[in-house]
């Protein structure tokens, strides 16, 4: 029978056996008794028929109860052992219990047997169950430890109630860098660098874990190497069954990556926000349906719609002037159908509308960003109304300027034509009478012929000479007036060659005279060669003319080059001039010497000045009466002249 109580009875008195059996039977418990009297039999029974209860007499002829108890405790510690004895002093009874017996029953009070048995069996049962549980627990703990030890991503370790490390898994070693031997017995604060008072200070963490049973935090911890990292840490208080604090379980996970990602995201979001907030251009995000998703402050200012008004409205309705809506929608439809259109990727200029219906020119750029619903678009709008207005003003000003230039040119042309007519008139109308005077004088001479007296003939010759001279003056004046209008044809000119050529042409003027020519260095210049040659001819012929009465003529021609210009001079040792009148030298018809002494039209130096000034240069003269004169002229270097640079 399975539920039958197996009783091993150590008893030498048969009557007592009967008595005990009787008593047990009374209790109605099914049982089976095996009786032994010797040590050998006891041992054999324990091994062959393990009992569920041992009832033992105290004193036996061949054996004794205490020895049996010791054996039973060794062989089967869970089986209840009850002394059933006739004589037992109080001290002996206490002794039996101390030795590990479950209970004792005096034969005189055999009625106590069944309650004692019942109690003993219950105790034994409880003890067996506890053992089973303990063994199961121990096995589970073993599995768990293996699991924990193998975890690498999580630092899992135990702390004692004081917060000192008691266990250390591979994950903890991996994360913190300490080996188990180094860290056991060290405080939780080893991984923290926080000051006391910080809500995540280890002391506070432990205390609040002890209080609430559980404490979680994201904290910065420090590795053995000294580097810091973000970790998520969970502390769980562990308690004895009675509630006394046994320690803490700590689970720590390295969340640096997540924190970095979060930080990057946060920064990116912040940057985006700052850009949106501070941009001077309207930045508007719209979805596939042109519904406004984002509307920055610049958009608020530009269009006059607040963010609240704009978001969820349709962008075209908001900002496109009604007459342009059709065109805009066609364009958008084309884009959405073909995926390509004029709007994307390059800025376009559009008329847009503000909340107050005022229209303005804007530059619009659209960027497409694919999304789950299709695509989102970022629209950047730059108000170019002012620029457009400025452009328009600029264009009008340009037109006005062009018109003015045209007018001025026409005026100049008219003036030139007038001057041309004037020149013609001078040549025609002033010279004709001179011819008449000359002609009639000749006719008169012819008619009077031999009748003429010498004095009268001289008078007639003077008249003829005077008309010729006036003819030359008129010619010179005409040439001068043309000089101011002739086109400048500038080119690189070898000044040395030009001077040599001019001297060659004037050699005949100096025939029979001794002239020392001193030609210094002459740099190349940028000038109209024909006109510059005229300048040199005038200056050199002047030099020859005004040295005519010197026994030895010396003429020096040289030039110096500076950063901006070339300065040349022609120096002679002639009659010179009174420097008080130097300013008159270059004026038309101004002469400082009589035409009788030094023939000339009074135009030559005026021509020189006119030509040099047209080249952007200057002319000046130095002289002393009877000590010669020096004429200087300067020519700017190739660049920076306003004339035609050909």
């Amino acid at each position: 029978m399975k539920n039958e109580l197996q009783i091993l009875m150590l008893e030498d008195v048969a009557a007592d056996v009967v008595l005990i059996n009787h008593e047990l039977r009374k209790a109605g418990v099914p049982f089976r008794t095996r009786r032994v009297e010797t040590r050998e039999a006891f041992l054999r029974e324990l091994q062959q028929h393990p009992p569920s209860l041992i009832l033992s007499d105290h004193g036996l002829p061949q054996f004794d109860g205490f020895t049996a108890l010791a054996i039973a405790q060794r062989e089967c510690p869970d089986v209840p052992f009850i002394f059933v004895t006739s004589s037992m002093g109080e001290e002996v009874a206490v002794e039996t219990l101390k030795s590990g017996a479950t209970d004792y029953v005096l034969k005189e009070h055999i009625g106590n047997l069944v309650p004692a048995v019942t109690r003993a069996l219950r105790l034994s049962d409880e003890r067996r169950r506890r053992h089973a549980a303990e063994s199961a627990l121990s096995e589970s703990e073993e599995h768990f430890r293996t699991l924990v030890d193998g975890v690498r991503d999580y630092a899992i370790f135990m702390l004692d109630p004081e917060g000192l490390v008691t266990t250390w898994n591979a994950g903890a070693e991996w994360i913190f860098g300490y080996r188990e031997a180094e860290i056991i017995g060290r405080p939780l604060a080893t991984f923290h660098f926080l000051e006391v008072g910080d809500p995540h200070h280890p002391e506070l963490m432990l205390r609040s874990a002890a209080g609430a049973g559980h404490q979680e935090a994201e904290v910065q911890l420090v590795r053995k190497s000294g580097t810091r990292f973000w970790a998520s840490t969970t502390l769980t208080a562990l308690r004895h069954p009675g509630g006394r604090l046994r320690g803490f379980a700590n689970v720590t996970h390295d969340i640096s990556e997540r924190k970095r990602a979060e930080e990057a995201l946060r920064r990116s979001e912040t940057a985006k926000r700052v850009i949106l907030e501070t941009a001077l251009d309207a930045i508007i995000a719209i979805d596939q349906g042109a519904r406004v998703r984002e509307w920055n402050p610049a958009a608020e200012r530009m269009f006059g719609y607040s963010r609240e008004q704009a978001v969820n409205s349709t962008l075209d309705v908001l900002v496109i002037p009604p007459p342009l809506l059709e065109i805009y929608r066609d364009g958008l439809a084309t884009y959405l159908m073909t995926g390509a259109g004029s709007l994307l990727g390059r800025p376009i200029e559009l008329r847009l509308r503000r909340a107050d219906d005022q229209e303005f020119w804007a530059e619009v750029a659209i960027a497409r960003e694919p999304s789950e619903e299709g695509a989102n678009y970022t629209v950047v709008i730059h108000d170019i109304e002012k620029r457009k207005q400025a452009e328009e003003r600029f264009r009008r000003l340009n037109e006005e300027l062009e018109q003015r230039v045209k007018d001025r040119t026409a005026q100049l042309e008219a003036a030139n034509q007038e001057l041309e007519a004037f020149s013609y008139s001078v040549s025609h109308d002033l010279r004709t009478p001179l011819r008449h005077v000359g002609g009639f004088v000749e006719i008169l001479e012819g008619r009077l012929g031999p009748r003429l007296e010498d004095n009268d003939r001289k008078l007639l010759q003077s008249i003829t000479e005077a008309t010729r001279r006036m003819g030359r003056l008129i010619d010179a004046l005409l040439a001068f007036s043309r000089l101011g209008r002739a086109d400048l044809r500038k080119t690189a000119v070898n000044l040395g060659d030009l001077v040599a050529s001019a001297i060659g042409e004037l050699k005949s003027d100096a025939a029979g005279r001794r002239v020392d020519w001193e030609i210094g260095p002459l740099p190349d210049v940028h000038a109209d060669p024909a006109l510059l040659r005229q300048v040199l001819l005038n200056l050199i012929s002047n030099a020859l003319k005004y040295t005519r009465r010197r026994s030895c003529t010396r003429i020096e021609i040289a030039g110096q080059e500076t950063a901006e210009e070339v300065v040349c001079h022609v120096r002679d040792n002639g009659v010179g001039f009174d420097r008080r009148f130097a300013h008159k030298l270059f004026r038309v018809f101004q002469r400082l010497h009589s035409a009788t002494d030094y023939e000339g039209t009074g135009i030559g130096l005026a021509n020189v000045r006119c030509i040099i000034q047209r080249h952007g240069g200057r002319v000046w003269a130095e002289g002393t009466v009877n000590e010669g004169a020096t004429f200087h002229f300067s020519l700017p270097k190739a660049k920076g002249t306003s004339d035609d640079p050909s």
Partner: protein, 157 residues
């Protein structure tokens, strides 16, 4: 019979006219000189003498034509002459103070046979007048025209 060479001088300037005529007269005998003092007078004279009639002789052998004249100027005279079949072939020497290139070009375009600028100096002026006469009257063979001149030429041979 020596043919009487005929020259028409057209000039509005009395002095130039007088000097020119004086020089022409001095330099050759068998020359008849007519003068006109403006373009209108010149055209009237030319049309009147386009063909010989009775004792009236035909057109001149050469016209010395000034350009710048009041009312009808030299260029207009030239244009009218070249339009008129009777006057078209008469040699015209433009004799003017103007060295203006525009005047030169227009004159030749309108059919001038020569263009001579009056020299400033009287000495040269006289010489130029003599040379013109010499060339156009003595050396140049004028185109044959209907009328007395053609008849007189054939009579001469």
């Amino acid at each position: 019979m020596t043919r009487l060479n005929r020259i028409l001088v057209v000039d509005d300037d009395e002095n130039d006219l007088q000097l020119t005529v004086s020089e022409l007269e001095r330099s050759g005998n068998a020359t008849s000189i007519d003068v006109a003092r403006d373009g209108m007078e010149a055209l009237l004279f030319l049309r009147k003498h386009a063909a010989p009639a009775g004792r009236r002789p035909g057109p001149p052998d050469i016209v010395l034509l000034d350009l710048h004249m009041p009312c009808v100027d030299g260029l207009e005279v030239l244009r009218e002459m070249r339009r008129d079949a009777a006057l078209r072939d008469i040699p015209v020497v433009v004799f003017t103070s103007s060295p203006n290139e525009v005047d030169v070009r227009r004159s030749y375009e309108l059919g001038a046979n020569a263009y001579v600028v009056k020299p400033m100096d009287y000495g040269r002026f006289g010489e130029v007048v003599r040379q013109i006469r010499s060339f156009w009257i003595e050396h140049n063979v004028p185109p044959p025209v209907a009328g007395s001149r053609a008849a007189s030429l054939s009579a001469a041979t």
